[in-house]
């Protein structure tokens, strides 16, 4: 077990930020911490890193209690916090060298590590640039390089892709997967479910400081009723048809809005064929037809009754 969080409680005066939060992260995982803004993700990370005091609970990292002076543990951790934390007065190279220098004393070794980090995030052409001259995406990459240059065993990334263009986002996500392949365990927090779905092997969904679901993506999706959503573009549809479609096997919810018919099915085979046969038999004209598998957003929606981005 790399990280173990048990019954963690953190209060900010009257606000309960973490409410008996439980997490366990295994070696080699890309563990996603998914939740809307203000759900307690960053507070949880702050507590794990001993940046924040907590009121109750227990945190162990690499099997040892995590305290502000656990420098032997901190040596193995790399951190990329939500806000870009670099010196605007130093160049890209000097920034990475400084943060790497907080872990690695030897100058020669550091030089090698810094160059590797620069190469890893693709900032070779910007080594002598000052952060103010970098675009948002490049700045995020620098932020990541500063956190991983010392080759940590556990990397904690707190919303590393906020306000990043799609190209840079993909590059960052690919990089994270690459780091994981090289042996690093990753904790990845985000409120972008697509990112978490794309890279994480296991996910904890948190809301209001509580873990509401935890497991692999498949396990989480299996927890909810919806297994398939059929979408059909229909120009006109009478109310009676909606009632009839709802009576079809495995269909548990039907919505018609903006000429778009949405049919949520619980499982089973041939759901789409049955729906299309019905529409054809009633001579209902339809256009584009497609089906969607459930997403983590559906999981969150079904458990909490609200969207991840609400």
């Amino acid at each position: 077990m790399i990280v173990k969080v048990e019954n963690l409680v953190k209060r900010y005066k009257d606000l309960l930020a973490l409410d008996h939060l439980n997490l366990s992260i295994e070696k080699g995982e890309i563990f996603g911490l998914l939740g809307p803004n203000g759900s307690g993700k960053s507070t949880a990370i702050g507590c794990i890193l001993a940046l924040l005091n907590f009121d109750k609970g227990n945190i162990e990292v690499f099997g040892k209690p995590m305290r502000p002076d656990s420098y032997d543990l901190k040596r193995k951790i790399g951190v990329v916090l939500q806000n870009v934390a670099v010196f605007n007065e130093l160049t890209v190279y000097d920034n990475i060298d400084y943060f790497c220098g907080l872990y690695v004393k030897d100058k020669e070794e550091r030089k090698k590590l810094v160059m590797e980090a620069i190469e890893f995030v693709g900032l070779e052409d910007f080594k002598k640039f000052y952060p103010k001259k970098l675009s948002g995406g490049l700045l995020r990459r620098l932020n990541i390089a500063c956190g991983i240059a010392h080759k940590p065993e556990l990397i904690i990334l707190d919303e590393p892709t906020v306000a990043v263009d799609p190209q840079s986002r993909n590059r960052i996500l690919e990089g994270i997967v690459d780091l994981n392949k090289k042996g690093a365990t990753i904790i990845y927090t985000s409120h972008y479910m697509e990112e978490v779905e794309q890279i994480c092997s296991r996910v904890a969904i948190i809301d209001k400081g509580k873990t509401i679901a935890i497991g692999t993506k498949e396990q989480l999706k299996a927890m909810i009723k919806t297994s398939e959503t059929i979408c059909i573009e229909v120009l006109e549809l009478e109310e009676k048809h909606l009632e009839n479609i709802k009576e079809l096997p495995h269909v548990y919810k039907v919505d018609y809005d903006n000429q778009r018919l949405l049919i949520s099915c619980t499982g089973g085979k041939h759901n789409l064929i049955r729906v299309l046969n019905y529409l054809q038999s009633k001579e209902v004209a339809f256009g584009r037809v497609y089906t969607e598998l459930p997403t983590l957003n559906d999981v969150f929606l079904e458990i909490t009754g609200k969207e991840l981005r609400d």
């Binding site: 940046l51 420098y71 870009v84 010196f87 060298d97 400084y98 943060f99």
Partner: protein, 386 residues
């Protein structure tokens, strides 16, 4: 020593601010050499006002009086016309018009009170001088006439008595009229660049290091906060000492090596070094108290100017009121300046002067300790809040 070495990389980005402060200070110091001390500038001289005298009596007495006023001031001939008077006064061509009325001589000889009519330019405060002078002349003149002298003799006597000068000494304080060497003024102005440069070097870099996200990242690292603070303090002290050495080299460039033979050079060094510690503590406090460059700019300007004006750096202590001086004693700059003045007026420090110098230096160090204490309390509170 990654924190230590990075401090100097960050400092390099502020080099122009330091250079500007040094250049400005050197400029001020050079000007001070040319113009002498602020106390040297306390002197007086007669001025001549633009006046007009309208003689409506045309007597020997009135002519004597007009001629004498003409010797004291710059007379302008005007037509005896009220409209002309108004115009000339309005445009400040003359500041005051004195009108000697008809029957002036006759009245004086008869022992009557014949006042001169005066017209003054609006807001011309300077006419107070001429009014007092004319009043004095008239009093002496009437006295001599009453003693039985004729108008011509009375005016001669009046001129004699008006020209006699009284010797006036203005005793500003026990030492103010003693001469201090030129380089003393360099040391007197030293607190200003010291604070300004140290704030640029220390406060501005401290806020960078203490920026929340950067500090969080450092706290997350396997680098103890104690070690970080130690390296940061070491860098700060190194910079402060380098700046002090530079500031101690400048007087040799401006004034030569005379001060080495002054007998009190060591005390100049000691006093300036103790104020360096004060400036360092102030910069440190500003650095941990502020959260932006703008806030530092506001603090440093108000603190440095406040300390320099109220502490006697820019305004000599000898011309300050008792109330201001009472307040100044609560400022470290006052003790620096006071100590500097004592050093400047001696070629050898012994007895009470030596005691006063040591006392002044110790008080400055007490201020530094108190300011460091406040900084530590603020740091601790900030850490607890975190």
């Amino acid at each position: 020593m990654i924190v230590f070495s990075t401090f100097f990389k960050l400092l390099e980005k502020n080099k122009w601010s330091i250079v500007i402060n040094l250049v400005v200070f050197l400029g001020i110091a050079s000007i001070a050499v040319r113009s002498g001390s602020p106390e040297d500038q306390i002197n007086f001289k007669d001025i001549k006002l633009k006046l007009a005298v309208i003689d409506r009596d045309h007597s020997a007495t009135s002519m004597e009086l007009k001629n004498y006023i003409g010797e004291l001031h710059q007379l302008t001939e005007l037509e005896d016309d009220p409209v002309v008077f108004q115009d000339e006064l309005y445009f400040n061509n003359v500041y005051e018009i004195l009108i000697i009325p008809a029957g002036f001589e006759e009245g004086l000889l008869a022992g009557k009170e014949i006042p001169l009519e005066t017209l003054e330019a609006p807001d011309a405060g300077v006419t107070t001088l001429s009014s007092i002078q004319v009043d004095q002349i008239m009093r002496f003149f009437k006295t001599y006439l009453a003693l039985g002298l004729n108008p011509s003799e009375a005016m001669t006597k009046t001129k004699e008595i008006m020209q006699s000068n009284a010797s006036v000494n203005i005793q500003l304080d026990n030492h103010s009229l003693e001469e201090a060497p030129n380089y003393n003024y360099y040391f007197q102005y030293l607190p200003y660049p010291m604070i300004a440069i140290l704030v640029s070097c220390i406060s501005l870099i401290l806020i960078i290091y203490n920026e929340k996200d950067l500090k969080n990242r450092t706290v997350c690292a396997s680098f103890s906060l104690k070690k970080r603070n130690f390296e940061l303090s070491l860098a700060n002290i190194t910079v402060a000492v380098i700046i002090w050495i530079i500031l101690m080299i400048f007087p040799f460039i401006i004034y030569g090596t005379d001060m080495l033979r002054s007998g009190v050079y060591g005390y100049y060094l000691l006093n300036s070094f103790s104020f360096l510690i004060v400036s360092f503590s102030i910069s440190y406090l500003i650095g941990i108290f502020s959260n932006s460059e703008e806030a530092i700019s506001v603090f440093s300007t108000s603190v440095s100017l406040g300390l320099c004006f109220l502490g006697g750096v820019f305004v000599p202590l000898s011309v300050m009121s008792k109330q201001v001086l009472y307040f100044s004693k609560f400022l470290p700059s006052y003790w620096y300046v006071m100590t500097n003045e004592i050093i400047g007026k001696n070629t050898e420090l012994v007895g009470s002067d030596l005691k006063d110098v040591i006392y002044g230096i110790l008080i400055q160090l007490c201020f530094a300790i108190a300011i460091f204490g406040i900084s530590l309390v603020i740091t601790k509170r900030k850490t607890q809040a975190f």
